[in-house]
Amino acid sequence: MISRHRRSRLAATLAATTASLLVLAGCASGSGSSDAGPDANAEIIVGSQNEPTNLDQIFGGSSGVTEVFTGNVYEGLFRITDDAEVEPLLAKETEVSDDGLTYTFTLEDATFHSGDPLTAEAVKYSLERFIGDDSIAARKSQLSVIDTVTAVDDTTVEVQLSAKSISFTYNLGYVWIVNPEAGDLTAAADGTGPYALGDYRKGDSITLDVNEDYWGDAPANGGVVYQYYADPTALNNALITGAVDLVTSQSNPDSLSEFESGDYEIIEGTSTTKELLAFNDRVAPFDDVNVRKAVYSAIDREQLLDAIWDGRGQLIGSMVPPSEPWYLDLADNNPYDPELAADLLAEAGYADGFEFTIDTPESGVHSTVAEFLQTELAKIGVTVDINIITDDQWYEKVYTDHDFEATLQGHVNDRDINFYGDSDFYWGYDDADVQTWLADAEQADSVEQQTELITRVNQKISDDAASVWLYLNPQLRIARDGITGVPENGLNSLFYVYGIQEA
């Protein structure tokens, strides 16, 4: 503990000294630890813009809470690796009944940070909490197939499903096992992970202390601090001046050139965040496939991606990024072709174009994208009105009330193609085949069968231009030289910090 405190003060002082002093100090600490290899006691300071609203995943903690807690402070029965594989975590052994409806888990011998042992009761409590009435967790509906949870004995849990669910264990990877004794978790934490919650300073930072009694392998560092910045420039400045060791997500490609020297490493992984122009498929003219395809083909997405991400990131042609098993290269399925677009419009009876409004959330890049679309669509005679709304208004007007013509949104979740199987979803895509395939896929006996079915869905929604999938965001992380073990990919904001170390 003492050494960590000294380090953090050292870090603070470092940030404040001149560049030359920085170099000197760097040399000094480098030579001190070079014999012993990486410094396992080093405190890693992570800069992020994604501060959680609160600390509980079931009550609006949003993706920021995943970034800090999942896998670090809390663990699930399973873990989803950086390569999107499912592997057992707290569930040492798993048995599935022949009908695929009964799962029996044998638990690892782990303890919570408070000292209480991990029990089957705790698992039962955690699963029921996740799908309970109070929960607004992001994956709640997918896990609602859970019928009953029974604590067979202290280390054995039996889960009864109401229907077969091939992605059950995958989804369990996101469910935290929490200590039932801990009570309200919106500003506290008690999990089984390699780190315990240290300090929570809303608007500033979250400190994770190493859990000395961790049941698994000890982390490669001596603790992690998430330092939050509301402003991207402030975050950049923090990295430049050494106030943080790495940033989890760089949203501004233009400042990358500042980090292209040898003092930093730019880590480009794939994210699962898709920028969508989502139509309201229920209303005219977007209930017409040809209109949707015309709009799609009128947009030069290559230029858009270049403007927003300076060529990084990737063009996609459907809801599926390459990291998912049912990926197909559909980027050219609706090619950029203004003439084709004009023909399609004429075919649909809108030869003279039409006018529509894009409800644009004020956050992030959406307004820039909207302006670009305005210019592009004007070329085929379509007039775009931009209506800037707040994120909350988006949830009210677009998401809940379906009161919109088209909107822009960045969809961050992995494996979220299933939203196209729900005709009540905000974009209102309604296709009987897609709904059947997705339902069957979830009930599939094998991953191959599941993959085959969802691949079909993938092709179909792309052919129908159910939405315009503009591009896939890159996942750009930047680390100071000497920091290694940073996870590459941004799978649904997961960010395991236990492997990060300072040389």
């Binding site: 400190t207 910045y229 400045n237 001046t241 949830y395």
Partner: protein
């Protein structure tokens, strides 16, 4: 009067905030169902009729309780106190520095208004007052933090004031940013007040009786000239406090301004209400104190009927 103003502030804030939107939409994410949204509203208590919510709030306030945050259930009062660790020193230091800058600059600009440096001082104060505060911040960060690496570009020590040196160090640039802008503003008032005093008959009369200029100025000038300056100081102090919102954003400081901006973004009504009520009360109190001091100094104001408000409006 102060109480009436406070009561009005409570009502207005409460009503206006409730009209803005539903805080539930700040908590949910894509995939949430209608039942989940309803359950969340019930948990926050925002599904009840507004008069009921208001009564609840008033009862709570009467117990000096600002309630708990909608998002993380922490007491708003405690959170405000924690944030004051940053905002209060920031405001006070910036205010002190701006006074230290403004008084000599303003005085010399007036006293030596016909010399080149007097004119230069006037011009500088015009310039400083015309720059948006965030731009000053950006320029200072670029020059002194990113290029010269003399100061941190932003942030505040996680240990708060455990290490006062580090805390002061972190506040240096933000304090400088505010002081440049509000010091320039203040200098213009000081200059104006000094010119005013210098041109008055009583000063000439005093000098005619054989007092030195300095003696006359100190004895009669300051006493007269300071009356309008005091209310300006109060206003400046309030302005500095409020202006900290933007400066905190530029320098990523976890102060009250950040709490407010994030609170608005997350529709966390109790937090927004708490911060606004706190800052409004503070500003009103400052005005009140300024009035009292003014009346102590200038006996003429004591006689005025509705002294408090008239004095301030006329000052």
């Amino acid at each position: 009067m102060l109480l009436l103003a406070f009561a009005l502030a409570v009502v207005i804030l409460f009503v206006v905030l409730r009209l803005l939107g539903n805080p539930v939409f700040a908590l949910i994410s894509v995939g949430a169902t209608e039942q989940e949204i309803a359950a969340a509203a019930a948990r926050l208590g925002v599904d009840r009729p507004i008069p009921v919510q208001f009564l609840d709030y008033v009862v709570q306030l009467a117990r000096l309780d600002l309630g708990t945050s909608f998002t993380n259930n922490l007491p708003v009062g405690d959170e405000i106190l924690r944030r004051l660790n940053v905002t209060l020193p920031l405001t006070l230091l910036a205010f002190l520095l701006s006074v230290v800058i403004a008084v000599p600059v303003g005085f010399i600009a007036a006293w030596r208004s016909r010399t080149w440096y007097g004119t230069a001082f006037s011009a500088v104060s015009q310039l400083g007052g015309a720059i948006p505060v965030f731009w000053v911040g950006i320029l200072l960060v670029t020059a002194l933090a990113l290029n010269a690496r003399l100061f941190p570009a932003g942030g505040f020590p996680r240990s708060d004031w455990e290490d006062p040196g580090a805390a002061i160090f972190a506040l240096t640039l933000p304090v400088l940013t505010i002081a440049i802008v509000s010091g320039s503003d203040l200098a213009r008032y000081v200059r104006s007040a000094t010119l005013d005093v210098l041109g008055q008959q009583y000063l000439r009369a005093a000098r005619a009786t054989g007092q030195s200029f300095a003696g006359a100025f100190v004895r009669h000038g300051i006493r007269n000239g300071i009356v309008p300056v005091i209310s300006i100081l109060a206003i400046q102090l309030s302005t500095t406090f409020v202006g900290a919102v933007i400066v905190e954003r530029v320098f990523a400081l976890p102060g009250l301004g950040d709490m407010l901006l994030v609170g608005i973004q997350e529709q966390d009504f109790p937090s927004v209400q708490g911060v606004l009520l706190f800052s409004t009360t503070l500003v009103l109190l400052l005005g009140f104190v300024a009035d009292v001091i003014q009346r102590l100094i200038d006996p003429r104001l004591r006689a005025s009927v509705s002294g408090n408000r008239m004095a301030r409006a006329a000052a």
